[in-house]
Chain length 342, copies 2
DNA sequence: CTGTTAGCGCGTTCAA
DNA sequence: TTGAACGCGCTAACAG
């Protein structure tokens, strides 16, 4: 007796269906493959036979034959980050509509794990890859094998593939200006590792504005780097800043994790905005409202995902033009709507 | 000339490697399959040849041959919900460690889409399925084909598979008691559709306590149902409750979405807790702290995911015992740590 | 321990 | 339009 399964049903093949429908296996294949035409009543007979037998085409056999799959690999640093979660959701929506499945690959910003997943993607082989590349990402293997790749959030090394990004430098600058306009004058910055493109670009935008306003280089003591992935790192960095002899009166946090951590630290010190100003680059998951003293830049997360997915589908379809880089706008006002952005 | 791809590299097969290493294809297969033993130096030769040629085993061929895959289908209502996101993350961690990949399937509580995905899973065929079943979920197809299934968050129809759930009734009751203990006395409940097991169980726990405290049935006007998936629905329901001639002084929100929406509504009315009490069943993404007047039940999200994944791996390995149902405890205090729960 | 052989289920030639 | 035959790349038998 078997529990849990009603039975290890024998695989029903096109041969079974063919016999039952009184046609050749090739005809069955054509009915389900949908390429070459089949007479209507023969097709109907095949459909009927297939339904009676509970036939489901075996994708592995098809893939082996055609050496293609309908799987898109989505490789992101951390699916537990709302930004990547929403990004993935958007990709999945577009992919599903086009008949593709999404394989989820968490890299945790770990190059080894990323390499491992790229190997899996290569041996799958997947139809395409959407990836947020890390510091030393090597796309060579995928490209050699002709697997299309689209990068999201960050550019690939040497810009060898399509990419969908936002204008980090400019929007970081704009957000920083807002802090000055709100009357803050001692600005600090908590950004990510110097191996990550966005953390450098955001710091760059910040520093440019500080220089232009103060006429001097930003104080190095007011610029901290923390890991992008853990709230706790942002919290620690913010606490460290506020413990300085001459602490900042506003903090630029370069991603949502860091902003969340910073808010935690400020809350613990009883210095929530507007007591201390804050830029949250990318919306933190504050449910209710944005308190005064907080400047939030809203990333067009959903758009990034759908754009990337469409670009990838174009590449899968064979589009052969030079790498494209799409830069999407960053909003400084809550775009409202259904949490479409982050 | 080709852009984007360095070339549609010819597939390197075990035959190529075999020739280069001076062994038989079967030996190459054994080196990569890892079942039968191979002499050390022969294995080394194979590895070397494979590396030089850039050989990557073709999974589709292997799967066709073995009619097995290393893919787990994760079918959840909405990956953009933090609960399911964290759940998925946990599953992915365990799966990856065991050499499996995770295929992401958003059902949006839509039976049609669920059915569609179950078909895909059947034709893949996937090694196993982890699913949050909806109202009319039909697992028949998967079970007939012998694909192991583990349900999470909700039981399957007729409890035909393993399941990992929490004790919704009891913890809903406990949370409701807290509201009374805090001095609230006019309690309302916003729960999900009556087609969803958890929304009924949570309402049940709520109602039991109301009955035992007031000695009467809960006022039907104070019990609302809203969709589980959108914050906006919770917001609307809460607004409706507060517009009653005799509005409640506390609201039991049966999931994190509904709690978020309720908080939004209360904020808009200037009635944030503790002015109006709130139970959030499942933690809402409040970054900073839990205000007084809010009772949060923290679901052991990560545990649910890892437990389910391990149970599925056991089933995939062939474990053949009656369906198990694991009920995990719900915490009423912030378990702290790294957002492991929700 | 290793090589030889025969398919896994399907898509795709080629003739008819 | 349809059917027969071949092979995608690999692993599971078997024989050595």
């Amino acid at each position: 007796m078997h529990f849990l399964t009603y039975g290890k049903g024998q695989m029903v093949t096109i041969y079974d269906v063919a016999k039952r429908a009184g046609v050749s296996p090739a005809t069955v294949s054509r009915v389900f493959g949908g390429q070459t035409p089949v007479t209507a009543n023969r097709a109907a007979a095949v459909q009927a036979a297939a339904a009676e037998l509970g036939f489901v085409p075996n994708r592995n056999a098809r893939r082996l034959r055609t050496s293609s799959s309908e799987i898109i690999a989505m490789m992101v640093p951390d699916i537990a980050n709302p930004f990547y979660m929403l990004l993935t959701r958007a990709v999945e929506d577009v992919a599903r509509a086009a008949g593709y499945s999404v394989m989820l690959c968490n890299t945790d910003e770990d190059p080894a794990r990323e390499q491992e997943y790229l190997r899996v993607a290569a041996s799958e082989p997947v139809a395409g890859i959407i990836i947020t590349p890390g510091a030393g990402t090597d796309l060579g293997w995928a490209l050699t094998r002709g697997v299309p790749v689209v990068c999201v959030d960050r550019h690939p090394p040497r810009r060898v593939t399509d990419a969908v990004v936002v204008d980090n430098t400019e929007s970081a600058a704009a957000a920083t200006r807002r802090l000055y306009e709100a009357g803050y004058h001692q600005l600090a910055c908590i950004t990510g590792p110097d191996t990550i493109e966005t953390s450098n670009a955001r710091l760059g935008g910040f520093a440019t504005v500080v220089r232009s306003v103060t006429g001097a280089e930003p104080d190095p003591a007011l610029i901290l780097r923390a890991r992008y992935v853990l709230d706790a790192d942002g919290e620690r960095a913010a606490a460290q800043l506020m413990a300085l002899p001459d602490p900042p009166d506003a903090i630029f946090a370069a991603n949502n994790r860091l902003a969340t951590g910073t808010l935690r630290a400020l809350h613990r010190l009883g210095l929530l905005p507007p007591a201390v100003g804050l830029v949250s680059f990318g919306g933190p998951p504050s449910v209710l409202f944005t308190p005064p003293g907080v400047v939030v830049t809203y990333l067009p997360t959903r758009d990034i995902g759908t754009t990337a997915a469409h670009m990838l589908l174009e590449r899968i379809a064979g589009l052969d033009i030079p790498p494209r880089s799409v830069t999407l706008p960053v909003a400084m006002e809550d775009p409202a709507g259904d949490n479409q952005q982050w």
